[in-house]
């Protein structure tokens, strides 16, 4: 398959390292040669969606449970942050931290009853959860200000210097957060936790019989995913500065899911590239904007049909990276043996 060929170009570690550096340089210097704030905002927005995709990737990609509740966790994080920030004058970073934790708690509360469910049961449960969160936001007026929403939400302030979209501050905050989230995803993926999730996706019963406590692992994954989504919500709120119950819609959850499917379940690079393309295309191809949800829908269908592992997901052919100090007799260090002959 041609696509496969394109996607599996092997390049030496050194080249890819240089490429990575260049990429970093480009990303960091973006604000200095941008044609306008619009560009920065879109870039920040893409970053936020990348974080969201990475968060969903932990439940859906690693653990194989399709969740439509990501927007709800965003809402929890965003509201907690906004309430603390506007009504109790808590600064960005502490408020953001609390926002994450509350979102995590919400994840736990939803996770406990639903972790036994799978497939569409889980989808409907998470969809329902979003509806519940919306209703709470609408009715708990003393806290959330009901349908009037919360305005003038604060931006991060570092050493008395307010980080706005204009001065690129929000972009850099996003960049740092994204880096952190990428690290978290990577750290999980390459640990026994990540392996366990992967095993659960493959065969829950078998992993259970190998001694993996599948339920606790699933809940933990769900909680972490919720926390990250909550943090994305915080970023979103401090960027738009106004949130109301209708801000976080099921459409958002669908877009996030779409990014995960498109980028490739389990792949970290995939999430970022997925966000890049799927969020920027309605901006670039404005005439397509009307049809964007049709496009998102088609992407879901076509990916499932022709490349369920997504653009960059699925099996790689890199040798497995062994921890340092592991000895292999009858085997000279170097490229692994690929494919059984």
């Amino acid at each position: 398959m041609k696509l496969k060929k394109i996607l599996n170009i092997r390049i030496s570690e050194r080249v890819s390292f240089i490429i990575l550096l260049v990429l970093l340089a480009v990303l960091i210097s973006l604000p200095f040669f941008t044609p306008g704030q619009y560009f920065l905002r879109t870039a920040t927005n893409i970053g936020i969606y990348a974080i969201l995709a990475l968060s969903l990737n932990i439940t859906t990609g690693y653990c194989g449970q399709v969740s439509m509740g990501q927007a709800a966790f965003m809402a929890v994080g965003a509201y907690t942050f906004a309430i603390l920030n506007t009504m109790h004058g808590v600064g960005f970073f502490p408020a953001a931290f609390v926002g994450c934790c509350v979102a995590g708690v919400a994840g736990f509360i939803l996770g406990m009853p639903t972790l036994r469910l799978s497939g569409a049961y889980f989808v409907i449960a998470t969809t329902g959860f979003s509806e519940v969160i919306k209703v709470i936001a609408l009715n708990w007026k003393s806290m959330t200000n009901g349908a009037l929403g919360i305005k003038n939400i604060g931006r991060p302030i570092v050493f008395g210097f307010e980080l706005t979209n204009a001065n690129g501050g929000q972009y850099y905050i996003m960049l740092l957060s994204l880096a952190a989230v990428i690290w978290i995803s990577y750290a999980i993926k390459t640990s026994k936790f990540g392996r366990a999730l992967n095993a659960i996706r493959n065969d829950e019963l078998a992993s259970n019989l190998m001694g993996v406590n599948t339920s606790s692992q699933k809940v933990l994954a769900f909680v972490i995913s919720a926390m990250l989504a909550g943090y994305a919500g915080v970023l979103y709120a401090s960027m738009t500065r106004y949130i109301e119950p209708n801000t976080f819609t099921t459409d958002m959850s669908t877009i996030i899911l779409c990014i995960v499917i498109f980028g490739g379940m389990g792949s970290i690079r995939g999430m970022i590239i997925g966000a890049l393309l799927l969020i920027s295309f309605p901006e670039i191809l404005r005439f397509m904007a009307t049809y964007r949800f049709i496009v998102y829908g088609l992407i879901l269908i076509l990916m499932m049909r022709f490349r369920p592992q997504g653009m960059l997901g699925g099996v790689g052919d890199k040798p497995y990276k062994l921890p340092k100090g592991v000895k292999r007799k009858s085997y000279e260090q170097g490229g692994g043996v690929n494919g059984v002959t």
Binding site: L27, T42, T240
Partner: protein, 415 residues
């Protein structure tokens, strides 16, 4: 290993986005909205050539796709009518007007992105109709404020909207103004027991709250009792529970606080149960579609609007004729507001003699223009002072009920 794709995509995006911003203002011509701007540009090509200057560009941002598309489209129609009219009369300072339109899908993040796009485009000197829902408008408003670009909303209803900054204008009845009219209606239709059915939206909540305060203040003088308050959420089609509450409180008049498409559904379900009670609508219910949808069910209901398409006032007549000629449909209040906005900005530009964003803002507080809303001017908050007229739905059309409304003080005194 696949990092190469990474950077490839990243660069692709960088390029694409830059080109995206570059073209998007003109690329509007790709979709419905701005093809109009294109053709009215061409329509006056000759005029433009003799006034050998590039046109003055104004932005329209509103939902052109999605659930609220028709509201955004109506506003755009109004803008286009005004632009054509002004250009036919030689434009502003001999320069043509040109409207660039953006779709915000009535979604906050898209609205903000569009706003940034407009702000960063130095050729655009003001936003002539900014967004539809308050919730969306309030995400973009701070951006206009910071960037120092005047933005007039034809529809925002959130009480605190215009207080966001001095660059933020609203050419729509403020909530207080709506209350003045809405509060008189039960008395006018002399009801004994009033029921309120309201959507749980920013407008709905603060409206009901404001209404209650007025009611509590004048309880003893009023001839009626506020018997029922019934709420529903956006997207509801089944009003049975609300209907039951109203009927149970045997109200003889109902104030319905939401857009016309909700009222249509409510009215149809309500009439099945109770054919008599008087339905009272707000301005957002004034829409020809209402009658097409609900037909018999809304016959005899009363409501008010800032625009009376059948009015003999020349300004209105002129606008309505042009609008009907161009789109062969009746304009609604949002179209009229958007139309007026363009005239306000045009007047400000004439006044200051420049297209400087800040100067336009300052001028907007001073100019007074005769347009569909009569003598239109903005007060210190940036809210327009507008007057509404009452309508009654009679055999399938909105019929004006002349001078039904009193000035507030007279009304209170008259109780």
């Amino acid at each position: 290993m696949k990092k190469s794709i990474n950077i490839l995509f990243a660069l692709l995006l960088v390029v694409a986005l830059i080109s995206g911003c570059g073209t998007s203002s003109t690329s509007g011509s790709g979709n419905k909205p701005a093809e109009a701007s294109a053709n009215n540009g061409s329509g006056n090509g000759n005029v433009a050539s003799e006034a050998s200057q590039e046109p003055i560009r104004l932005a329209h941002i509103g939902p052109l796709t999605g659930n609220m598309a028709d509201f955004g489209q109506h506003a755009l129609n109004g803008v286009q009518v005004a632009v054509e009219e002004i250009n036919e009369n030689g434009g502003v300072m001999g320069r043509m007007l040109e409207v660039v339109s953006y779709d915000d899908k009535n979604v906050g993040e898209d609205a903000a992105a569009a706003a940034e796009l407009v702000i960063s485009d130095s050729s655009i000197c003001a936003v002539t109709s900014a967004h539809y829902s308050s919730g969306v408008a309030m995400v973009a408003a701070p951006l206009y404020q910071e960037a120092g670009m005047a933005a007039i909303s034809p529809s925002a209803s959130h009480p605190e909207y215009s207080s966001i900054g001095d660059y933020i204008f609203r050419n729509n009845l403020t909530e207080q103004a709506e209350l003045v009219y809405a509060f008189q209606m039960p008395t006018i239709v002399d009801c004994k027991k009033l029921g309120i059915v309201s959507m749980m939206s920013d407008f709905g909540e603060s409206f009901v709250h404001g209404f209650e305060e007025l009611y509590e203040a004048n309880k003893d003088k009023l001839g009626y009792e506020l018997a029922v308050e019934s709420f529903f959420v956006d997207g509801t089609v089944d009003f049975a529970p609300n209907v039951a509450e109203i009927v149970n409180g045997d109200c003889d008049a109902i104030i319905f606080v939401a857009e016309y498409n909700n009222l249509a559904a409510f009215a149809m379900q309500y009439r099945k149960v109770d054919p008599d009670a008087q339905i009272i609508g707000l301005m957002t219910c004034y829409n020809p579609e209402l009658i097409n949808m609900a037909g018999e069910a809304v016959e005899g209901m009363v409501l008010y609007s800032v625009l009376n398409p059948n009015s003999e006032r020349p300004a209105v007549k002129n606008f309505v004729d042009r609008y009907v000629a161009k789109f062969n449909s009746q304009p609604d209040f949002i179209a009229a507001n958007a139309y007026d906005n363009v005239h306000m900005i045009a007047a400000s530009i004439e006044k200051t003699g420049s297209t400087d964003r800040e100067k336009i803002k300052d001028a907007l507080y001073e100019v007074e223009v005769t347009c569909t809303a009569g003598e239109l001017k903005f007060d210190a908050n940036g809210d327009a002072e507008k007057t509404a007229v009452m309508f009654k739905v009679e055999n399938g059309d909105f019929a004006e009920v002349p001078d039904a409304f009193k000035l507030w003080d007279d009304f209170v005194a008259g109780l």
